[in-house]
């Protein structure tokens, strides 16, 4: 189990008051806070190492290159990848998905071919495929979501067929917390010769990940949702895939020989890292991975199951609150969406913020899912390693104030 109070000491930002109340940060699905170790790694890099990588001969350049590449090794280890060279650094999950839609999609998807997504995708796993479909005259298909907030696997089985070229699905929903059986879906795709991309933006921070057992061909995630800095994304590809792909962006660092008419490409993964990358943040990401490794991803998962169960129980005990998505914590992660009768999520968010509670309100970049759930927006509380059940109580207390404010209006109205 995690020693949450000990962990909190590593997060300077948490020790503050917001609007006169202790900060209760429950917006971890948007981005997580950073431990001192990560912040110090950033500062240390700029104070002792800063140099451009892969080119210079001097000592600092070599040191920076070594640290940058050591992070690639650490990422590979963290997700169970065999080769570090199958790990590409991008800016974020969105860019990782765009890279695949361009560099793999443009080559392999043609007119009438089908791209299978699901109704619970984040816009970042929809729009790049819409752009690809428009370029190539391909067709988009969406796996339905059940009333319980899970992927309809029968529908998936019906959709994925001989015309399917790629299936791109989210591992853990950023709205419902649902953990999808991506290995099963990848197997369906493989049976028809299609490849699978798994959007791991929400799963990599919260679950032990082993890409070799997921069965997918691409896995994308972001550092900033797992204690790391913003501006660092990861794309992992199955061995051999990157070599066969054309570059995404052209420029320095991704070439081998440049001639006036044409050039040849650097080896993978550098072929996909044009220009000076986000060196400092990549290197600091390695401190985040060390931090998670020391905690153990299994312990992270166990902690989140506990706090998620506590949050679901507490929310469901309040009359007028509805929790969306699976209720069984074995089937879900710590992003908990809920709606409150008669009070719009933005009003809820404004009110609880006055009590120091940071939650997200809106469509969570998942408009297709909102339409499927038949709600215009939801409130979302999302948990991480430094959250404790006292903070669930703070949320419930703050929600109670929202009830009182809106209830007052109702009773006044009734009197008139």
């Amino acid at each position: 189990m995690l020693d949450v109070m000990r962990i909190r000491e590593d997060f300077p930002i948490l020790a503050q008051e917001v609007n006169g109340h202790p900060l209760v940060y429950l917006d971890n699905a948007a981005t997580t806070q950073k431990p001192r170790q990560v912040i110090e790694a950033l500062v240390r890099y700029y104070e002792t190492t800063n140099a451009n990588i892969h080119r210079g001969i001097h000592t600092l350049a070599v040191r920076a290159t070594e640290q940058y590449e050591a992070t690639r090794d650490a990422v590979a280890t963290h997700i169970g990848a065999i080769n570090a060279s199958d790990v590409v650094f991008t800016r974020n999950t969105t860019e990782s998905i765009n890279l695949v839609a361009r560099a793999w999609g443009d080559e392999h998807v043609g007119e009438g071919d089908e791209i299978v997504l699901s109704l619970m995708e984040h816009h970042s796993n929809i729009v790049p495929w819409q752009l690809l479909a428009r370029r190539k005259g391909a067709v988009l298909r969406y796996i339905n979501v059940t009333d319980e907030g899970e992927l309809d696997l029968d529908h998936a089985r019906a959709l994925i067929g001989p015309r399917t070229k790629i299936v791109s699905v989210v591992h853990m929903s950023n709205v419902l917390g649902t953990i999808n059986p991506v290995a099963e879906i990848a197997a369906m795709a493989r049976a028809h010769g299609a490849v699978t991309l798994v959007d791991g933006a929400q799963s990599a921070p919260h679950l032990p990940i082993d890409v070799s057992t997921l069965g997918c061909d691409f896995f994308a995630f972001s550092a900033h949702k797992m204690l790391g800095p913003t501006g660092v994304g990861v794309l992992w590809a199955k061995p051999g895939l990157l070599e066969a792909m054309q570059p995404f962006l052209g420029g320095g660092d991704m070439i081998s020989v440049v001639r006036p008419e044409a050039s040849t490409w650097a080896d993978v993964p550098h072929k996909f890292e044009a220009g000076t990358p986000n060196i400092a943040d990549v290197i600091a990401f390695s401190a985040a991975l060390d931090y998670l490794k020391a905690l153990g991803m299994t312990n992270v998962r166990e902690h989140e199951k506990q706090i998620t169960a506590a949050a679901i129980d507490a929310l469901m005990a309040v009359e007028g609150i509805r929790v969306h998505g699976p209720l069984d914590v074995e089937k879900r992660g710590g992003a908990v969406s809920f709606t409150v009768d008669g009070i719009h999520p933005h009003d809820i968010s404004t009110i609880v913020d006055q009590y120091g509670v940071a939650i997200r309100a809106g469509h969570h970049c998942a408009q297709l899912l909102m339409r499927r759930l038949e709600v215009p927006a939801t409130n979302r509380a999302s948990f991480y390693i430094y959250n404790h059940t006292g903070e669930v109580e703070a949320l419930i207390d703050a929600l109670d104030h929202a009830f009182r404010i809106f209830h007052r209006a109702e009773s006044r109205t009734a009197v008139r």
């Binding site: 933005h346 009003d347 809106g362 104030h401 404010i405 809106f406 007052r408 209006a409 109205t413």
Partner: protein, 148 residues
Amino acid sequence: MPNPEPQFDDLYRELILDHYRRPRNRGALENATQRVEGLNPVCGDEIHLDLRIHDGVIEDIAFEGNGCSISQSSASMLTDRLKGVTTEEARRVMAKFRAMLMKGEPPDPELGDLEALEGVAQLAVRVKCALLSWNVLQEGLTEAETAA
């Protein structure tokens, strides 16, 4: 030290919540001359406004939509305030309402009930909620003037 109790009286005034619970002029108009709509893509707030404008007078006005209490009450108060007035007056009220929310100017007496939304000016992230229906109105007025 005791934690301060936030005062929401400035933001969630009784009048706002009343318009949210019991929206005025909600629905569609049969003989609308203008049907305009607006969406706040960031938060999903939605307003449809039906206007019946003849000879520079807003003879009738109705709205439909969904969203937070601020966006919906603002739309409800808008219809309440502008039903039966000239488009010229509507533009004047619109300018005064925007000045209150965007420049923090004290509410002009001409705003009537709309002054209840004054507190929104303190919350920059919510100003767009209050302005949504007014942006839609502006589109409708411009459309009517172009057609005339």
